[in-house]
Amino acid sequence: MPHYLDFEKPIAELEGKIEELRHLGGDSGVNIADEVGRLQAKAEKLLRQSYGRLTPWQKVQVARHPDRPHLVHYIESLIDEFTPLAGDRAFGEDRAIIGGIGRFRGRPVMVMGQEKGNDTDSRIRHNFGSARPEGYRKARRLMLLADRFGLPVLSLVDTAGAYPGIDAEARGQAEAIARCVETSLSIEVPFVAAIIGEGGSGGAIAIAAANKVLMLEHAIYSVISPEGCASILWRSAEHAKDAADALKLTAQDLLRLEVIDSIVPEPLGGAHRDVPAVIQSLGDALETALLEMSEIKGGVLRARRRDKFIEMGRAGLS
C-alpha cells in the first residue's frame, strides 16, 4: 500500500479503484481489463498534471515522502565495494551521516551524506538524518582522507537540519559545521554534491559547498524550514505554505538563482514511484559531473569552487 500525500487524493482514489477491479479478477474477463486500462490512463494523466506543476509546499511534502529513496538506497545501487568508515576520532560515531570509500562506475570515490532511516528503528538509529557535531567531524575527516588519496567526493544531502540539542551545542555544533564548510572549500579533489530530498539549512551546506551542486527535480533546499520561517515571520506555523512560496526553495527557483548547477529529473509521480529509475538518473548526472572535472588539476578545482561561491548572487549587478 503506497503512502499518498494529501494532494494525491484523487490519484489515490483512482489507483484504489484499479486495485479493487483487479481483485474482482478473472471471471468477468475483458470488460474489467478495459476498465482497468482506462482508469490507469486517467491516473497517469492526473499524475502528470499534478507533478507537472507542484507548488513549493507540495514539493516540500514530496521531498519528505516516507518512501522517497535515501542515501542507503543510492549507495546500495551505485557504489560497488562500499566500505563504510566510522567515527570522528574524538567523541563518537554519528549514524546520521554515513560515508565511506567505494567504487562508482569503475573509479574509487569517497561517498557520504545524511541518512534519515526508513522505519522506526532505523530512523532512531540515524536520528532522522539530523547530525550532531560528531557527524560533521566525521564528514570532515572523510573529505580530508579523500583529499589525501585523490578520491573524488560525492556528497548526498538529505536532512531537515543539524540536530538542535543540548549535547550538540555543548560539543560545538556551530564549530563542527563551520569547519566542515572550511574543509569543503580546501580540498583539491573533484567534489560533487546532490540534494536528494531535504537540503535543510546549515546542516545541509556543511557538506554541499561543492564544485557541482545537483538537485533532484522535487527536492528542496532552504535556509530554514517553511514551518520555522512561518512561525518567525508570520508568527504562526500555519503559514508554512506561504513561507514555502516565499523562500524560493525549489530546484527550479534555485537553478534560476544559480545556487545550484543542474536539476536531475525524477520519474513521473516523484522519486518514490520508481526508485531504480531515479537512482539511475542521479548516477548518470554524478558521472557526467565527475567526468567534466577529471582532467582539472586539484588547485584549479579548489580555486574554481571558491570562485563559484564568491560570484554567487552577484549576477545582474552592473
Binding site: P164, G165, E169, E175, G202, V223, I232, K248, L257
Partner: protein
C-alpha cells in the same frame, strides 16, 4: 576592485557619540533591573555599573572603542541586489530593508573600517544588531569578503565582531550561501599568514556562528554573550527539557573548549593589542642549508658518521 579605490574620506569619530537622548535620562539594566544614569552607562561603555552586565553596543561605538584614539576610516562596501527573491511575509522585505536603512543610516548590517590598533594597522568588520538583528544576507557576505581582501592588501590582521541572529531568511537559500562565502573570506586572511581574530558578542547564532565566526585563529567573547548554533526555543521544543543555567553563554563555551577567552569590554582593546603584537612576530628569514648533491664526494669519515647515526636510529 572598485571598492578599494572608493574609500570614504576619513571620518574622525568622537570617542563618545553625540547622545540623542538627554543626559538626565535613566536606563534600566536588563539583568539586575537597577536604574543607571544614561550618561554613566554610556561613559562606562554600556556595562552596568551595578552587576557588570554588558548591554549591546552599536557598531560605530564598537569601532571607535577598538581603534586608537577612536579614529578609523570606513570603506565603501559593494552594492548588492536588494531583495533578490522579492520576499514578502506580513510585510515586504524591501520595506523592512528601507526602514532599517533609515533607522541606522547604514546600507546593511556590517560596517568595515581600517585604522590603527596599538599603533599597528588592522581591519575591523563589525555587525550592527540594530539592522534586522544583524542578519546575514548578500550584503553582509560582500562586506566580509571586502574586509578580508582589504586585510590581505594591507597585510593587516582582520578582526570580525559578529552580533547576529544568523542568516537573513528573506534572502532564502542565497543567505545560506553566505556561509561558504564568508568562510572563504576567513580562509583568504589565514592563508595570507595574517591573524584572523573573532570577537564574539551578544548574540552570535545560527549560520553566522556556523561559518566565519567559529573559525577565528583566536576566539574572544564578551561576558554573558549568547553564542551557539540552534536557538534556545528550538532546542527546548525539540528535547522538551528546560535548558541548563548559563546554556550557550560565553562562559559556557569557554568551559566547553569552544573559545579561548571571555574578556570584559573594558579590557578588550588592551587584550587585542597584546594578542596582535604577539602574533605579528616576524618569522626569521630561512637559513640556507646546503643539501648533499649527487656527484659530490662525501669524505669517508662523514659517511661513516652518517651510517652510524642510521644504525642508532634503527635500534
Amino acid at each position: 576592485m572598485n571598492w578599494l579605490t572608493n574609500f570614504v574620506r576619513p571620518k574622525i569619530r568622537a570617542l563618545v557619540r553625540k547622545a540623542d537622548v538627554p543626559d538626565n535620562l535613566w536606563d534600566k539594566c536588563p539583568s539586575c533591573g537597577k536604574m543607571i544614569f544614561h550618561r554613566d552607562l554610556e561613559a562606562n561603555l554600556r556595562v552596568c555599573q551595578h552587576c557588570g552586565h554588558h548591554l549591546r553596543l552599536d557598531a560605530k561605538r564598537r569601532l571607535s572603542m577598538l581603534f586608537d584614539d577612536g579614529e578609523y576610516q570606513r570603506i565603501e562596501l559593494p552594492k548588492v541586489t536588494l531583495d533578490p527573491l522579492r520576499f514578502r511575509d506580513r510585510k515586504r522585505y524591501a520595506d523592512r530593508l528601507k526602514e532599517a536603512q533609515a533607522r541606522t543610516e547604514e546600507p546593511d548590517a556590517t560596517l568595515v573600517a581600517h585604522g590603527l590598533i596599538g599603533g599597528r594597522p588592522a581591519v575591523v568588520a563589525v555587525f550592527d544588531f540594530a539592522f534586522l538583528g544583524g542578519s546575514m544576507g548578500m550584503a553582509v557576505g560582500e562586506a566580509l569578503i571586502a574586509a578580508s581582501r582589504l586585510a590581505v592588501l594591507q597585510q593587516a590582521p582582520l578582526i570580525v565582531v559578529p552580533a547576529s541572529g544568523g542568516a537573513r531568511m528573506q534572502e532564502g537559500t542565497l543567505s545560506l550561501m553566505q556561509m561558504p562565502r564568508t568562510v572563504i573570506a576567513a580562509q583568504e586572511v589565514k592563508e595570507a599568514g595574517l591573524p584572523y581574530i573573532v570577537l564574539l558578542t551578544d548574540p552570535t547564532t545560527g549560520g553566522v556562528s556556523a561559518s566565519f565566526a567559529m573559525l577565528g585563529d583566536i576566539a574572544i567573547a564578551e561576558p554573558g554573550s549568547i553564542i551557539g548554533f540552534a536557538g534556545a526555543r528550538v532546542i527546548e521544543e525539540t528535547i522538551r527539557e528546560k535548558l541548563p543555567e548559563g546554556f550557550q553563554r560565553a562562559e559556557y563555551l569557554l568551559d566547553h573548549g569552544m573559545i579561548d577567552m571571555v574578556v570584559p569590554r573594558h579590557q578588550l582593546r588592551e587584550t587585542l593589542i597584546r594578542i596582535l603584537g604577539l602574533l605579528r612576530n616576524p618569522r626569521p628569514s630561512a637559513e640556507v642549508v646546503a643539501l648533499p648533491q649527487a656527484g659530490i664526494e662525501i669524505p669517508a669519515d662523514a659517511a661513516a658518521a652518517a651510517a652510524g647515526e642510521g644504525a642508532q636510529g634503527d635500534r
